[in-house]
Amino acid sequence: MTDVDIAPRRPWILGIFLIVAGAAGWWAAFQLTIDKFLTLAHPHAALNCNLSVLVQCGKNLDSWQGSAFGFPNPILGLGGFAAVIAVGVSLLAGAKFARWYWIAFNLGIAGALAFVIWLIGQSIFVLGTLCPWCMLVWFVTIPLFWVVTLRNLAEGVYGSRAQRVGSALLSWVILISVLSYLVVAVIAQLVLDVIHRL
């Protein structure tokens, strides 16, 4: 902040966004974890997320991609999204974080996005499914990445030259997220013909 005499306002929009997005992602991970338990206990259980050949999570949960690191992916979500919520609540409480903290948070979310991009590819190209709870995770991880990354740029976490770029782009974050969704939607439509199969 250059205007030293203006007290920096508490970033309540950012805080609320992190809490809402983190809670939605956590809920999706929780549902997937429960469904995974169900399929383990009853291999032929009718999961309420299995709506059709196209829209289902059973295939995703049963696939090896669903346990990419040797354990079910949603367990990662249960931990990771709780951290997102915690950061959001801390911001609302007026917490100030060191530069390294923001960088670590950004790295974690970038990792989550990279994993989500891989999962989107596997789901659309290999499994041929759209899994509802998985899509909720995609839906929140994409803007989480853009918001946190652009916020860090705009606040000068990555230096002053990046700061100018960041503050110019930050106000476009909703559009950037929408365009990211659009890329996924267009790929899904081209590969799976979603519109004609729903």
Binding site: D3, I6, A46, S52, V53, K59, F125, S171, H196
Partner: protein, 287 residues
């Protein structure tokens, strides 16, 4: 408080405070402006996308562009028992831009078994390996009818562009159309010679030789397989079963293959346990 009662310091503080408030107000206005244009653009983009989706989905669903196979008026081929034999029911075809006509399932004490299968699906292969002969016996003995719906849901499980699932289920349609008496044998042979997932599957020529191996040598069938004659029907029948509603059952749509219905009730037991399946059939018949 009148101005002249203020000290110099007080006045300076007041002026500073005024300036601070003004700056804050300006900053807030500037912030609002910074977010106004992007938000507006976003709303416009979302609106355009919504309109495009709406137009595309209304121009849908793609109608079946050519007639389907004969003897599959319900999108499936129906077998009944007659004189100790398993006999396919002869019907017309689902015409272009038309819908299938479901078979009636009378409450006649028979087990009316309907299967939705993909010839390229390993789970269907497992189910058929366990139960195909039992099913045939039940139909031959006149205790059951069997209606097989081949659908192609697994193109994405094979090399992109190979379309093995679509082509393999076209084989079922070709045989139903030209040689319905050979359908069951060809289906079993297609499962036995099934291509592996994550490969290109089988070529049309390979499938023709599987059909020959099953004892069906028919030039029309061979041409139908290599020309993928019932391509549009396979696509339409697959979409229809995936969307639902399905006839003669409360199961809304086909969410996986094999979907096995006995008098409308879905079999959810083990695909490799023959006894579990026959128990289920008895249970449904007992009501």
């Amino acid at each position: 408080m009148p101005d002249d009662r203020l000290t110099k310091n007080d006045r300076r503080d007041a002026a500073r405070e005024q300036a601070r408030l003004t700056r804050e107000k300006q900053k807030r206005a500037e912030n609002l402006r910074r977010w106004l244009i992007p938000t507006g653009v976003t709303v416009v983009v979302v609106a355009i996308v919504a309109i495009v989706v709406l137009v595309v989905s209304m121009s849908a669903p793609p109608p079946q562009s050519k007639a389907g196979p004969k003897n599959m008026i319900s999108d499936g081929i129906l077998f009944t028992g007659s004189g100790g034999k398993m006999v396919p029911t002869t019907t017309g075809a689902v015409q272009a831009s038309s819908n299938p006509t479901p078979n009636d399932q009378p409450k006649d004490g028979l087990a009316h078994i309907v299967t939705y299968v993909d010839f390229t699906c390993p789970a269907c292969q497992a189910f058929e390996a366990t139960n195909a002969d039992t099913l045939q016996q039940m139909v031959e003995q006149g205790t059951a009818t069997l209606e097989v719906h081949p659908i192609a849901i697994l193109d994405t499980h094979f090399t992109v562009g190979s379309r093995y699932s679509s082509r393999a289920n076209n084989v079922g349609a070709c045989v139903a159309n030209f040689a319905p008496n050979s359908f069951y044998d060809v289906m079993k042979a297609m499962y036995a010679g099934q291509g592996k997932e994550q490969t290109a599957g089988l070529t049309n020529a390979q499938m023709v030789s599987i059909v020959h191996g099953a004892g069906l040598k028919n030039g029309d069938v061979d041409k139908c397989i290599s020309g993928e004659t019932f391509k549009s029907w396979v696509t339409s029948a697959t979409i229809r079963s995936g969307k639902g509603p399905l006839p003669n059952t409360t199961v809304p749509n086909v969410a996986h293959t094999p979907t096995v219905l006995v008098n409308g009730q879905e079999y959810t037991g083990s695909l490799t346990d023959g006894a579990a399946f026959t128990d289920f059939v008895q249970q449904v018949l007992a009501g």
